[in-house]
Point group: C2
Amino acid sequence: MKQVKIGLIGFGTVGTGVVHGLQVNRKHIADTTGFDITIKTIADIDIKTDRGLDIGSTALTQDYHDIANDSEIEIVAQLVGGIDTANDIMMYLLKHGKKIVTANKALLAYKGPELFMTARQYKSSIAFEASTAGGIPIISVLRDGLGGNSIHSIYGIVNGTSNYILSQMTEYNYPYEKALNEARKKGYAEEDPSLDVNGDDAAHKLILLTAIGFRSVVSMDDIHIEGITKINQTDINFARELGYTVKSLAVGILRENGLELRIHPTLLPREHPLASVKGVFNAVCVRDNLAGETMFYGKGAGSYPTASAVIADIIETASGSYGPKFANLCYFSDNGSPSVIPFSETISKFYTRITAKDIPGVVARITSIFSDNNISIASMIQKESTGSEAGIEFMTHKCREADFQNAVQEIKKLDFVIDPPAFIRALDVGFESVG
Amino acid sequence: MKQVKIGLIGFGTVGTGVVHGLQVNRKHIADTTGFDITIKTIADIDIKTDRGLDIGSTALTQDYHDIANDSEIEIVAQLVGGIDTANDIMMYLLKHGKKIVTANKALLAYKGPELFMTARQYKSSIAFEASTAGGIPIISVLRDGLGGNSIHSIYGIVNGTSNYILSQMTEYNYPYEKALNEARKKGYAEEDPSLDVNGDDAAHKLILLTAIGFRSVVSMDDIHIEGITKINQTDINFARELGYTVKSLAVGILRENGLELRIHPTLLPREHPLASVKGVFNAVCVRDNLAGETMFYGKGAGSYPTASAVIADIIETASGSYGPKFANLCYFSDNGSPSVIPFSETISKFYTRITAKDIPGVVARITSIFSDNNISIASMIQKESTGSEAGIEFMTHKCREADFQNAVQEIKKLDFVIDPPAFIRALDVGFESVG
């Protein structure tokens, strides 16, 4: 039995899950893998708070250097959040030869290239399964399980908070604020939920998925990011009538002219497997040229699901399997990988809703603006007008973002238009349904 | 760039997919992994048939020894089906130091322990992602992604032919024979579909999932196997009325007293993620003590999805990542792993339908038989009788298989019972629905 003594930095929610998970599964892991994994030292600024765990002979320290300078420790679970301090810790660990397992997505999203270069330079490694979609092993799936396949698209629900809010709005017809408060009460949303609901957290994850799936180093500026805060019940109800569900998706699509990267509320046909992913669950769809469509589903956050990913990475690192992968695979190092195309050049289908005065010629004018902008209409609904206003809905065929936005500007200027056109994008990437 | 020259034995459907997949993705794989993978030699009895591929400078031979004895070839994709010949080839390859990647599930199900022992003895390895659920990387998910977690249950749809037939019966109300013929026409069922529809193919896969997920070496005799041939439209329609969908599942559950292993038609609540897996798609749900519930979805068969798994294994083997895993993980070697509990001791919920004469006291007698056998009733529907017959449906709470079968025998003997009770099991393993 090989003894593996690790260090752990950051004894918060995820850290506590990792410590407890390794305790509970210690014998199981030893029986399965031949490694007896124990935590020699835990570092955290707060070493007073009772985490409800008996940590036995594990040392507690406020100084992470105690771990970095301990030659008996080869692997460190680095679970400190945020960017600057976490980056300093990571750099120090790498320069002291430690192999790192981390859950910090924001750090890798902003500092990935430098950190990975340093890790390679010091013959170390950084494993980061826990950084994306918690308990779903999507990083290893893209890297290993689908590792020989050319990826066409990766898209999915990678923020549980947003998905919980949209699920509540859809199922119980709650307004946004009520759904958000519900999420707060259940512990699914922070007091300040900005990072989750504005799409930034999903964008961090998309940067990592892009690094693995498309081998492209991208930054937040490369991604069009729209949160869920502007979605209202009217949108959701209209979508339902048309057979769609509104989900906030992270989307990466490799087109002939480059990569499309975006986070935005998206219409999904009700029978799409992602449409039934509810509450705080996450799910990622992948489409590639050999396996075709695959989907990976599970809990995207929380102490134990994230600990599951951290522990898997610790085992892979300890077994010597991860080293060659990290050395060979070119994460975060551009080598002829596809570049990102401007958002204005991306392709979507659009659902749009226009409120106009109920006078003759309205539909003719609007449709001719669409047509002048190379947009063809897939379907149109005009409901019986209430009083002097008419609500008209269109579903377009796929078209360029710039063309659609141009049409919106022109329609806005029409004197009979009461509300500017509201719209939600729909993917043009289908999920093949066999049978 | 490291050159990797491999051998391939068995130039059938999967072999052709592997050859074509490696051609199409050669540059992609090289850019991503640093390995230039080419096929040096292909062996097949039939070297005449045109596979529609230009194999360039790859040699074709009828004699697999040409590959086994070629010292330049380190890795062999062994894609010959069946058991005896395939076993001879595998043994010969292992004894000549070749590392093997295989898609042959039946072979591993029957000869796994010997083959794995031999591989260890000769410091070789056998990778077998392609043996289970085609394009879904479920083997590496269980081994690596969820590798530190104690698995509670693995259950899913692992036979696309059965799932296609049941999907057609459910969606279009086709009788079994018509759905089977449809499957034949589309190439989803063999002319003799026995292995698929009688549950044996699913059982082969369950043996492999059990070896990885529960570390237990089991044989076909340890698995209760029921196919889909007895399912009729009445069952499917009744299930629908109760909010259920009928799916053929492979189920492994670790109970306190051991492992439950079974293949049978199963009722799933309509909102369960597996219920919407249609056509030839496969999906496997896993429940463990850290990640909780996860699901993995994709195409379970076919030339390219299976090639995806073969190619992933070739890369893992070539990179040196798979060697330490194979050496450390105790596949197919019992070491205190859980034993299988007899089917009579397994726990299910049961849907049952009884046709009886419409006379007073029928329900009282039947329910007292259930109660005498420790079975409590969760719900009951009795429809208005047509003429002199009454159809009564029960859904039980969970109970022992033996108790339920005993109750069935007693109910059968009642003189007012017209048709013996028909029944379908439902899982007592829930899929947590958050939100």
